[in-house]
Assembly symmetry: none
Homo-oligomer: 214 residues x 4
DNA sequence: CATGAATGAGAGTTCATTCAT
DNA sequence: CATGAATGAACTCTCATTCAT
C-alpha cells in the first residue's frame, strides 16, 4: 500500500529504445529465457514501463521482427534491381558482399539470427518473415539469375540450387562466427571472403582450359 | 494427444528412449520452452523417472548432443577419406549429397537444428559440438579440397570460402524447408538438388568456352 | 468506451464528480477490482489529478460512503417522525414505499449495495455506516413500532423481528433485481410492490374472520 | 536452477480441503483481494500445489459455488414438499426457521454471502446460482403459498411480495449480524427469532378483533 | 491545477526438481 | 525402479501511487 518511486525524464523515442534492448536480450538469451526485466534494465526503464509501450513480451518480438525485417532484403532487392541487367557478374559479387558483410555484423545479423532460433515457435511471425524477407530475397536472387542467363553471361542452373548457394555461405558464416566463434583463418575481411566465395561460384572449382589460342 | 503405453519394451534401453523423446520435444519447442513432463510422456515414463536416468533437463540436452553429434560428421569424414584421393569431383558430389540428404531428413537434421537454436546459450555444449562436429567437418572439407588441388583437379581456392560454399547450401536448405516450409520448386529430391548444387560449385556460373559437361 | 470531454464544467465541484464516478465504478466492479484509471476516465480527469483531491483510492471509498450514507436514513427518519404518531399504518406503508422505491433505483441503491459488498473488508467504514445509517434506521423503525403499539394500532411484536421484516424485503428486492436480474412478475411498480408487502405485514397471511357484526 | 523442497504426505480429499479454505478466504477478503497463497496456507499446501487441483483461482470460486449451492435450496425444497400440503402454517414457520438458522451460521451462510458480494462480477456464476438456488427457492416459496391459498388457510397475496417477505428477513439477519455485527437484543436464538417473524407474517401487525393467538 | 510517464511491489501461474510411497 | 503429489523459485503482467513537466 506504500510506494516510494523516483521518476525520470522521458525521451521521445522510447519504443525504438525498447526494441533495441529487446533485440539484444532476445538474441543473447533466446525469447523464452529472456526476462522482461532484463530488457527493461537494458532500456533504462522499469519493468512496468515497458508495458506502457508494448502489451506483452511477445508483442515486443513481433514489433521487433516487423521493424527490422526487410531492411536487408530491401537492400538486396535494390542492389539486384540496379545492377543485374548491367553486369550480372558484378551484381553477384555485390550480392555476396552485402550478405557476408551483413552476416558479419552482429547488429545487422541479430534479427535474422533471432528468426533462426524462434521462427519455429511463432508460426505467424515466421510467415511474416517469409513473406517480407525470404520471398523478397528469393525473387531478387531469381531475377539476378534470370537476367544473367538471358544475357548469356551465366549458365542456366536450377533456381533453388542457385539460391541455396548464394544464401548459404552467409548463413554458415554467421553461424560459425557468431555462435561457434569459428573465425576464418585468412580472409577475416568480409569483403574478401565474399569475393573468394564469388570466385568459386562464378568460375567453379574445376580449372578452365584457359583460352588456349595457338 | 494422450499416450498411455502400458507396454514397456526394452526396459534396459531407457536412456535412449528418453533421449529420443527429449530430442523430439526440444526440437519442437526449444529447450527453454520444452517441459520435462512432455518428454516423460513421450518416453512413456513418469516425470520423476527421468531423474533416475538424468540429473537434470540440461543433462538430457548434453547427453543428447553428445550422443547424436558426430554421426553425420563421421560419415562425412569417412566418405572424404575414402573418395577424396580417388576422385575429388565424385567426392564433392557425394559430400553434397550426404549433407543435403541429411538436412532433408527431419530426424537426422534434428540434432544440428537443436544446436543451431541452443548453442548460444550453452557455451560448453557449443564447444563440444564445435570440436566433435564442426572441426571434424572442417578438416574433412579441407582435406577434400587439399587432395583435389594437389591432384590438380580443383583450383586452389580459399579454404574458409570453400567450406562456407560446401556447408551453406545444406544449412539453408534445412532452414528453408524445416522452419519456413519453403520447398524447392523442381528439385524436390535431395539427391537431385545436391547434384545441381555440385554442378554450380564445380563448373561455376560463367559458361566455359570449351566443350564441357553441361 | 473512450471519453475525451475536453469541456470542463464546474471546475469547483470536482470532488463530487469524482465521487460520482468512483461510486459507479466501485459498484460495477467492486472496490478491489476497480481501477483508479477507470474512475479518472469516467470523471473526465487524468489519473494523477484524482490524487489532488483524494490521497488514495480508499479515501475515495470513505468519502463516498460518508457522503451518500444517511440520505436514505434521514429521509426514513423524517418520514417516521412526521407520520408515526398520526397514522402508524400509513407510516408503515410509506416506509415500505420509501425503501422499496429506493432499492429499485440503481442510483440510490448504489451506496447501500457498495456497503453490502465491501463492508466486511473495511471495518471502520462499516462502523461508520452502522452508526449513521443502520442505527438511525433501527431507531426509526423501533419508534414507529413503539408509537403504533402505544396507540394500540399494532400488536406488540419483537423489535428485531419487526426490523428484519421491514428492511428485509427491500434488500432482497435489490439483490434479486440488480444482481440477479430476477424481476417481479406482476408488481413491477415499486409502489405497488411495497403496498403488497405492507398488506402482508399489516394483516398477515391468515384470513381474518371479517367484521361479524350482528 | 537449484531447489530444496521438503515434501509431505497426501490426504485423499484434497479438493474439498482446498475449497473449504478458499471459501473461508474468499468470504473473509473477497475474491479479488484474496491471495492464492493464503488459500494454500490455510489448506496446508504450497501455492503451486493448488494448481494440481484447480486450473485457476476463478476455477476454485466456480467449484466452490457449484458445490455448496443448492444444499440450502434443496433442504427448503424438501421441507416445503413435505409439509406445505399438510399444514401450511407450520410449513411457513419451519421455512423461516430453516432460513434464519442457516443465515445465523457463518459456515452455512458463507456461500450465499460470497454470491452476494461476487455475483455481479461473475455473470455466469450468478446465472448458475440463480438457476440452482434462487429459482428453486422461488418455486418452493410459491408452492407453499399456492398450497396454503388453495386450502383456504392463507389469503391470496402477491407471490413476489410474499417471497420478499419470506426471504428478506433471513438476508437482513445475515447482513446485520455477520457483516455489521448488529445482534438482536432479545431473541438471540435463531429459532425464536424465526418464530417471532413468522408470527408477524402470519397474523399481521394489526390486532385481530376476535380471540386469536397473540 | 493537471498530465501521464514512470515506478515497483505484488499477484497469479508455471515448472524443474524432489521424495514419500 | 517407478510414481506423481508437492515444493518454491521465478516469471509475466497489473496497477496504485508519484513527480517532472
Amino acid at each position: 500500500m506504500i510506494r516510494k518511486p523516483s521518476h525520470r525524464r522521458r525521451p521521445e523515442a522510447r519504443p525504438e529504445e525498447i526494441l533495441e534492448a529487446a533485440l539484444a536480450v532476445f538474441v543473447e538469451q533466446g525469447f523464452a529465457t529472456a526476462r522482461v526485466e532484463d530488457i527493461a534494465r537494458r532500456a533504462g526503464l522499469s519493468k512496468g514501463a515497458l508495458y506502457l509501450y508494448f502489451p506483452s513480451k511477445e508483442a515486443m518480438l513481433n514489433a521487433l521482427v516487423e521493424q527490422s525485417a526487410g531492411a536487408l532484403a530491401r537492400s538486396v532487392e535494390q542492389h539486384v534491381a540496379h545492377s543485374a541487367a548491367v553486369d550480372p557478374e558484378a551484381a553477384l559479387r555485390g550480392l555476396l558482399r552485402i550478405l557476408i558483410t551483413a552476416m558479419s555484423s552482429p547488429k545487422i545479423s541479430a534479427a535474422p539470427r533471432l528468426m533462426l532460433t524462434e521462427a519455429h515457435r511463432f508460426p505467424e511471425l515466421a510467415a511474416f518473415y517469409r513473406e517480407h524477407v525470404l520471398d523478397v530475397m528469393r525473387r531478387s536472387v531469381s531475377a539476378l539469375l534470370a537476367a544473367a542467363v538471358e544475357k548469356g553471361v551465366f549458365r542456366k542452373v536450377d533456381t533453388d540450387a542457385f539460391m541455396r548457394v548464394m544464401i548459404g555461405p552467409g548463413i554458415v558464416h554467421m553461424v560459425l562466427t557468431t555462435i561457434f566463434e569459428l573465425k576464418p583463418e585468412k580472409l577475416t575481411d568480409p569483403g574478401d571472403l565474399a569475393d573468394a566465395i564469388a570466385d568459386i561460384v562464378l568460375y567453379g572449382l574445376i580449372p578452365r582450359q584457359e583460352s588456349l589460342p595457338s
